[in-house]
Symmetry: C2
């Protein structure tokens, strides 16, 4: 089953467009064992999410111990919930192939985030496996996103100038011949999200930035839903993982995830009623 079918089924089953980012930070965790922490979070939230997204940086920062914890974490995720490895990888073709092997074969995840700066031939190795998906960074959630992504660009053939992130959205559409491309669009820029939705009406967006980063659920849902009322994976990490920093962290995480899932669902109903 391809990534997007698996995603759709999990979203239906759990009534959820929420993705929980598994980004363990030992300085904030109430227990010292990363794998145990993640297992508890997964057990508490597996009925509330459409996907999980471990960010590889947090595991790599722990060396061998981190890689072992990542393996344990992936093994703890129920097989009917898709996993997006967030590594923002990208390299020239020969090397990008090695990254695709690392993620899709070695770790066995369902999807990966990919940085577009190196162009189409660096993205292609992540797309060759049709059952896997790649989410191309389009408009990221951080303040520095403006530095490159908002620069006004003229295409080689001429035409109207537009921000680089819109050009990336159009490229991603062209790269999507197998139907396994998604986009990363930050929740902190709802206007940009709306513009990308107009350019890519049928693509699924992975939306980080709700919660600790300040993105607003209502604006994300209103501006990001596709015509069928789907097409969004709304990622939250810290607000769920560190809902409590005491022993009750897993219960608190479930509470935070349920609240977010239900808020997203309410905003979705509202948006569909209005459209």
């Amino acid at each position: 089953m391809g990534f997007f079918d698996k995603l759709e089924r999990a979203a239906q089953r759990n009534g959820s467009l929420l993705c929980v980012g598994l980004d363990p930070d030992p300085a904030r965790m109430p227990v010292s064992d990363v794998a145990a922490f993640n297992r508890a979070i997964i057990e508490a939230t597996a009925g509330l999410v459409c996907a999980y997204k471990p960010n590889l940086a947090f595991y790599e920062a722990l060396g061998e111990r981190g890689l072992a914890a990542l393996r344990d974490t992936l093994a703890a995720i129920p097989s009917d919930i898709p996993v997006i490895a967030d590594g923002k990888r990208s390299d020239i073709g020969n090397t990008a192939k090695a990254y695709a092997r690392a993620l899709f074969d070695e770790l066995g995840v369902d999807a990966a985030t990919v940085n577009p700066y190196l162009g189409g031939d660096a993205v292609e190795p992540f797309l060759e496996r049709e059952e896997k998906a790649a989410f191309i960074l389009c408009r990221t959630s951080n303040p520095g996103a403006r530095d490159l992504q908002d620069l006004l660009v003229t295409a080689p053939g001429g035409g109207e100038a537009r921000p680089l992130f819109e050009m990336v959205a159009e490229m991603a559409r062209r790269w999507n011949s197998r139907g396994n491309v998604g986009l990363v669009v930050g929740a902190t820029y709802p206007e940009e999200l709306k513009r990308v939705r107009r350019l890519c009406p049928e693509m699924t967006f992975l939306v980080p930035g709700v919660g600790a980063q300040g993105g607003d659920v209502a604006a994300v849902v209103r501006n990001g839903l596709d015509k069928a009322g789907r097409g969004l994976i709304i990622n939250v990490s810290r607000q769920v993982l560190y809902a409590s920093r005491e022993k009750d962290f897993a219960v608190a995480a479930a509470g935070a995830a349920r609240q977010l899932r239900d808020e997203i669902a309410r905003e979705r109903e509202r948006a569909l009623a209005e459209s």
Copy 2:
């Protein structure tokens, strides 16, 4: 000692601007043990290079075995030769900090390659440690580099349109307040290299793409040297690692590395004589 001092000393000592890319590909290696292969390559070439550059993708593709081989490889590199971890990492500030820890603390390398698409705040965590360096991807060596990097962009305040990679070169100059920023500029685009050198007269460029990718040493040296006749780290991987695919691979690698080092030195003498 900071990265660039360490680099300068190694370059002087070995009379070399050559960097060997430690990118082990089990399908092409004449021995099956990655660490043993790398150790033999390092022993054979340590007197001929100014730096080593392991590309992380090739280790990640091998899972735990790859991480162990990377550790062994790093331990085998003499401490007076700087190491650039080529991972092309980048993420929002909080996560980029974790990547910087992974590379500079966990692996203990001297420098890293960084993708600029997320902007200044994503690059900053790699620069906070003044003794470490970050090489920002500017103009990469692959054909798809054109897709984004050549797009004509206008800065938010207006001004003349110019290719995105030139804008990145200027941003990198601004990010370089601590003097620990370099640029990645592919050997396969010598004209672009010349333009970047004009924009950043005093920055050090990491130049991949000579050898298997078709970049020309003479053009790289002519267009890339700074006024002091330095400022280049010319990376070669496959042409050295797989100079022979028989038992004599280490001897052959040393031969290939010596030939490249000397060719670079000759072209350097010629370029300095002409200027």
